[in-house]
Assembly symmetry: C2
């Protein structure tokens, strides 16, 4: 296997310290690669970057109609949120709406990602619950699927459960690709994740954005999901989240979602292209620099949007004593053009 | 620049998710490379991995004698400690011994690395101070140098201060290599760090371990420093630290020190060889897998020592819900032999 190119690097003082390799693929809905760098046929785990595809099962099971799920609930199903109050209260209300509570969640508990929310929780003597888990909205959505299907909610996160079978079928339809158990793992939040080629995810996001190649029902659901996510960017991440800030800045044109271990997937809705990106070593800050460089080239940013992208293309590094010690930056190789 | 080989990778379920490249060099005291993989002539920042070399300035300035510094104080000067009580109390006593306190430290404050120490600090309403900084022992040592030299302690962390000039001279003597300001940065704890080729650091650690090639005074100081560090492994790191556990397990034979951004340096004292290692992307867990694989090959471990190394060569990954989701492991390429 030849090495992917260096797409981000960190500089300390006047010397490069760390190097991050990766690959990026931009595709249209028919799988025609519009721009790429690195090995885009490598099979990668999509992790949380494809929550919007997984949310299709909410529509396939008619949970959205049966439980009159709000756009906010749909957006939160696509989120890796910071565990701020708006996120946890919404997750709790989605569960209450289906006669369940946080004890039904199988994602596990962790402290809120947002430092202020974490501090506030501990200051009032609270304990992290599964509601604070970044994936609680997705899990609440999956529990809604279970309730709509009339199946046992217990074990809904397991690969062999009907909920995960439904989710897998939805993702396979969008990707037009058969997921195989020979390339499967358990995600951080305990649901299965299947690997597929990076270019397939890029194509899938173009299909989600355009509806092209999808059944009429799936295309309609994809539109509702992308509308919900791009209209409620704060629910997708929260304070300081690049997904949140970028989607807010691009005002509905951009669908963007990071995934753990250095992933980004998304789409430019008006140009009908999808993209997928992975940093080989799993660094999220490096992947963020890479995707900001990508958007700078392919998203035709306004001056204001470009200023936001620049904050992530070159991320200042400050040490404990407050000294500016260097920066993490996308390399020229990351600036691929259509 | 051709890519370094993949020396560690993480596996999720049954598929590789992340790949970590790197280089490793093993050298004798004359710079003859005994084993290597990757580009070992690349210039890297040594960061905290060379604190034992920087501690030579304590002897060069006669601070050790003037202030009757204990072996524990010398060991702590070589440490990146967890901020546990034994570390912070010792750092405070080193400072009290030179008529200073934590306010003289220029390393900045951060919460203790050890989770129990962090929890205990916050539970009693305490605030992180510079004593909790992983580098407080090194900084207390550098302040001892300033006091022994009779120079102003203020600004002791700056490149142009007499203390850092003395530290630089000591490191240059051990490395037999001129450090240049054209490859210099500020470390996380605010002192300067200069890049040099990886093989030069490996040779330098062999020289520290054997005294060969060093002046009589420097060789004697190096011996005291390595004896202090290897005799007090808990002071070098703390609970759960691989440096601590490995040095304790090898009972004085092994000097080992990690550095931020995926570094390890060390020496096998009985065989007179030094080593240096860097993970290209800066991952410390990946670098730990790499150095454990290296020690498995070059350190002739006993069965018990091998069991410790195995815990780091293959590190289980557990998710928030307690599921075993995969592991981070050193690759075959990392198992270089003498």
């Amino acid at each position: 296997m030849s090495a992917n190119p260096i797409l981000a690097q960190s500089v300390r003082g006047n010397w490069v310290e760390n190097r991050h390799r990766g690959a990026v693929c931009v595709s249209d809905s028919e799988g025609r690669i519009q721009a790429s760098v690195g090995d885009v046929t490598a099979e990668i785990f999509p992790r949380s970057a494809i929550k919007s595809m997984q949310a299709l099962a909410i529509f396939r099971s008619a949970a959205n109609a049966k439980f009159a799920m709000s756009d906010e609930a749909i957006a939160l199903a696509c989120a890796s949120h910071n565990g701020e109050l708006v996120h946890t209260e919404l997750a709790a209300s989605v569960l209450a709406n289906i006669k369940l509570d946080e004890h039904a969640l199988e994602c596990g508990a962790h402290p809120p990602i947002d430092p202020a929310a974490r501090k506030a929780l501990f200051a009032r003597g609270g304990k992290p619950s599964a509601l604070h888990n970044a994936c609680s909205g997705k899990h609440a959505g999956m529990l809604s699927v279970a309730q709509a299907m009339g199946v046992d909610t217990k074990g809904y996160s397991a690969r062999e459960h009907d909920v995960q079978k439904a989710v897998r079928a939805c993702v396979q339809e969008v990707l037009d690709y058969e997921l195989t158990d020979s390339r499967c793992g358990i995600d951080g939040c305990s649901i299965p994740t299947w690997a597929a080629p990076m270019n397939v995810f890029a194509k899938g996001f173009a299909r989600m954005a355009t509806g092209k190649g999808l059944s009429q029902e799936t295309a309609a659901a994809a539109r509702v999901i992308f509308d919900a996510a791009t209209s409620h960017p704060f629910l997708i991440g929260g304070t300081g989240s690049f997904d949140t800030e970028a989607m807010a800045a691009f005002g509905g044109r951009l669908m963007l979602k990071f995934g753990a271990d250095g992933l980004y997937c998304g789409a430019l809705r008006d140009s009908g292209i999808g993209f997928a990106l992975k940093c080989d070593d799993g660094s999220v800050p490096a992947a963020t620099a890479m995707v900001a460089a990508l958007l700078m080239e392919i998203a035709e940013p306004t001056a204001e949007q470009a200023r936001l992208l620049e904050t992530r293309m070159k991320q200042d590094q400050i040490n404990w004593a407050g000294h500016h010690v260097g920066y993490l930056e996308a390399t020229e190789a990351a600036r691929i053009r259509l």
